[in-house]
Symmetry: C3
Subunit: 270 residues, 3 copies
């Protein structure tokens, strides 16, 4: 990426962060029982609002009110599955940007079937680890639970194919995150391994991507911004942590304090 | 409030806190999936016990055993709705004090219908933000998800009306909390804005109100005590926090250590 | 216990800990909504992996893939009950070690019936507080919610009887943990009272016991190791905590850093 274009990217990230704190987008989350608390706290910390409206009937009513929607398949109980389909349809109809996080699909049939049904509704953004992206593109059979057994680069062709087929931005998480619209691939290499030692490190990123998606129709740009801000906060938190427990706490603090200048100084985007 | 009456109020708060730690009331919580962990930890920290018995059949059996009951409508899935009605009826029959927290009612029909059904069972205490109290009194249409769009003072007439109609104590949360029995209004102006930057700040207060309700039949007094102790702990926590993550941790520590003397020194009640 | 045998035990604990971090066993958890997050974080902190696969159909498919399985009856909603039976049967058939944690059984009929059904499937390990162990052995009527009203020593005959009848290792939690195979009783007297001031202190131990169970067929040895490592980490955390909030954070840090040497130096096993 040439210097001019890179500066544009860094400025866009910084501006999206400022906009997020000014407008406090309201993110509806239909997510798994393990990470609801951490996800809501991550959204509140960064300056967004959170609503876990995941009951059938209400979920579909809420999606047009929300600024963004996250659908995360981590523990897809029967009522949540109904709520997910209903809210994804309502979001699509209302123009609410929505994120699909196909957690642990591949070998597990309930969520895999549901993910393939949801992807047909053309998610604004798809976020997953490499194994999940491969499984969603039917190029793989999934990972080991929530752990990926593939690298982000290995999943890039699948990510590009998904982006092209469903008109989605696809974000593949890993030590280096890759965000693609099918044509342009952007790599964000900030982050900390401690994000993988706490539960919800990836799931909460999906919610933050949904919050940033409310800020501009350029979802490649907002998704890169979400990944960069999130992983820069992780770097800042790792500096003051003595383990995964204190990291989770410091990470929420860092999401609240990470600044536009921090982003311009530290973002590693190419 | 004259000085004599104020001193009585402060002493009552301090005595309720001492009683709570001595008797460790057992609070049954039927609450939303986002805040279960934080709510249980808040109860344990302050010195109460917690049981999340929210399965139909068991919920109704547990309510007469419990010292207090919280019903929070944050994520009212089908089984929880059955459990809520069953335990509210059992609590009413057994004389177990119970708290209704009508989270985000107004625009969302499942919880709104349920809240109107539950309020007919005459909750001992109703706790909500101004928008929720207005919606429960049918004077408003609810807020923006869990965020209130109205001030506590604006909701006071609705709070008084609810108190009068259902014989409930009504606590309206805000920068200044107002607690009313329909005749006497008491304002508690302790607290920290950081309570609104973590999820469950209001929800866990509902559980703490249920714990204090076990201590005396004067529920105006116990509810004021719960609000005061809770918000004084928040002030103490804010002093040693660097953001919402460390605030949540310090808040649980402060709930465990806040003393009767702290209450007498710092409570701002009128 | 003579010195030689004690040294063998201490070395076994230390070796199991090293093995756990080397192999990172994947633990499937079907657990209650209050402690999912803390449980997953405890597993990740100590070096294991976690998957909360608790949806019917998927639960049974996952159990043979998992290195260990935890079934915790804290909030046994209808879908979870199906998932529990399905995964326990699949684990038994596949030889995946599994842990039954019969939370708060006794007076509450749904979980009590389910616990008696599950125990017939011969859990590899049963973990509970004294009241729960007594109730599972039908010698008692349960405690006060999740709090035990009996001592671990009082529950030892019931624990031995369960071990003999179902071929299970039984771990009774208390200030002194007792682990028995029905013949040999081993006491672990490490720990901190702060573990009882946070929610999930016992529940997460069940998950850690499942992780250690993947390391050797000698489940008396792996269960003692899990209890010792867990409670030594609690002691280390208590040293740097100012209350239950900071204890929970420090405990996750300590689970990540507790070493084989710490175990040899500090374990109090007899």
């Amino acid at each position: 990426m040439n210097t001019h274009l890179l500066n544009d990217r860094l400025n866009a990230v910084a501006e999206h962060l400022v906009d997020l704190r000014r407008t406090s987008p309201l993110v509806q989350c239909i997510t798994n029982t393990v990470v609801t608390n951490f996800t809501a706290n991550a959204l509140l910390a960064i300056g967004a609002s959170a609503a876990m409206a995941d009951v059938p009937t209400e979920a579909g009513i809420f999606a047009p009110i929300a600024s963004g929607l996250l659908i995360n398949l981590g523990t897809p109980h029967a009522e949540q599955r109904v709520a997910m389909l209903e809210s994804a349809r309502a979001a699509a109809a209302a123009g609410t940007p929505w994120v699909l996080d196909p957690v642990a699909i591949g070998a597990l049939p309930v969520r895999t079937t549901l993910a393939h049904e949801l992807v047909q509704l053309r998610p604004t953004i798809i976020r997953g680890n490499p194994s999940e992206i491969l499984a969603l593109a039917r190029s793989g059979v999934g990972g080991r639970g929530v752990d990926s057994t593939d690298s982000a680069e290995a999943a890039l062709p699948a990510a590009r194919a998904l982006a092209a087929e469903f008109g989605s931005i696809v974000a593949v998480s890993g030590p280096i995150d890759i965000v693609t619209d099918g044509i342009t691939d952007i790599r964000v290499s900030n982050g900390s391994a401690l994000l993988t030692r706490i539960t919800g490190g990836g799931c909460a990123l999906g919610a933050v991507i949904a919050a940033f998606a409310a800020l501009s129709d350029d979802r490649l740009s907002t998704t890169v911004a979400a990944c960069a801000v999130y992983t820069i906060a992780a770097e800042q938190a790792a500096l003051v942590s003595s383990g995964p427990g204190s990291f989770a706490v410091a990470f929420l603090d860092a999401l609240a304090t990470v600044s536009a200048d921090d982003v311009r100084d530290r973002a590693s985007i190419r």
